[in-house]
Symmetry: C2
Subunit: 197 residues, 2 copies
């Protein structure tokens, strides 16, 4: 027998089912937990149960939240006239950390990829349209991948007739990196999108 406790074995398998956590790391995490006191482990379990019971999708922006509408959608300090469209909820955290954007968000929950069956109706695109009545600008903050480009093209065609400003976030050489280690596609794009100063 490899493990003398079924409970331990089961928890190792649970941790190992998470992305980027292998069997060995999972084992190390579980043996780490076993050194902690009961309350610590039970608090961890409670917060797992809490996300399964309390987290919902905001009916307006489709972000994960404990309340509907979410704190961002219900905040009077945020500008409702500008909406930033993102692929997934974790992108909102990244953007919020910059403290640069004070509008509202819309989460698509994916990017278009017709070959994989991800067509416009799978994404939260139809939920975006009714929100655009009082919007002046839509910022598309999607990943600069093929799926991102396809989604940007689809959305811009869809929204152009509505007379709303549409922008996409800039692609280029990341701050702090060196040209030497930047890929050719990024450099070509940085040349094309050069800004006159």
């Amino acid at each position: 027998m490899i493990n003398s406790s079924d409970s331990i074995q089961k928890l190792i398998e649970h941790f190992a089912s998470l992305p980027s956590i292998g069997k060995k790391t999972a084992q190390r995490l579980v043996f780490h937990l076993l050194k902690k006191d009961k309350n610590y482990i039970q608090d961890f379990a409670k917060s797992l149960i809490s996300i399964s019971e309390n987290v919902i999708l905001c009916s307006s922006c489709n972000n994960f939240a404990d309340t509907d509408p979410c704190p961002i959608c219900s905040s009077h300090k945020r500008n409702s006239n500008i909406i930033c469209v993102v692929e997934q909820p974790s992108d909102i955290i990244v953007i919020e950390k910059t403290n640069e954007f004070f509008g509202k968000y819309h989460v698509l929950h994916g990017l278009l990829n017709p070959l994989d069956g991800i067509t416009p109706d799978v994404l939260k695109i139809k939920e975006l349209l009714p929100r655009l009545t009082e919007v002046d600008e839509l910022i598309l903050a999607l990943n600069p991948t093929i799926e991102g480009e396809v989604t940007i093209q689809y959305l811009s065609k869809l929204i152009k007739p509505l007379d709303i400003k549409i922008s996409r976030i800039a692609r280029g050489v990341p701050i702090g990196s060196s040209l030497e280690f930047t890929d050719q596609a990024t450099i070509s794009n940085a040349f094309e999108s050069r800004i006159y100063i």
Copy 2:
């Protein structure tokens, strides 16, 4: 606000408190969980609660187990005349995977380190002595570190008078590695411990 859900924020902090998991990884794990269905998350929580409620120390070998004595100590297929002493429960899993050892175990739950206050009475050493009455051989499978060496010396001095064979697992160049990348201390030791063939 960085995160629009307190439940999510709390779970991220729980994951980030685990060793080798940073804030970013923790966030990625939680957003991965949010894509899974409720039952999956609640099963995960249940197995956490299960280790906090069901896992005990075997009163004989001090390994983590769901039962007392543990499955290894209560197995009639295991040789009770030979005990392998290890630092921690996870070492047993590593040894069991080799399928080479069919004796029983004793977990010390640490290694001697008097400067850090880890003296013999902190470890499960006094629990080892009563087990030695029917034992022929004691294998010390402790890490080849300073603390491991100190513990090996202490145990061998303590047990020598009892007329029991004591061995320690071999130190040397690991299988599959190359001399070029092996440290000097390991190579010196491999020379000292050379085996005539």
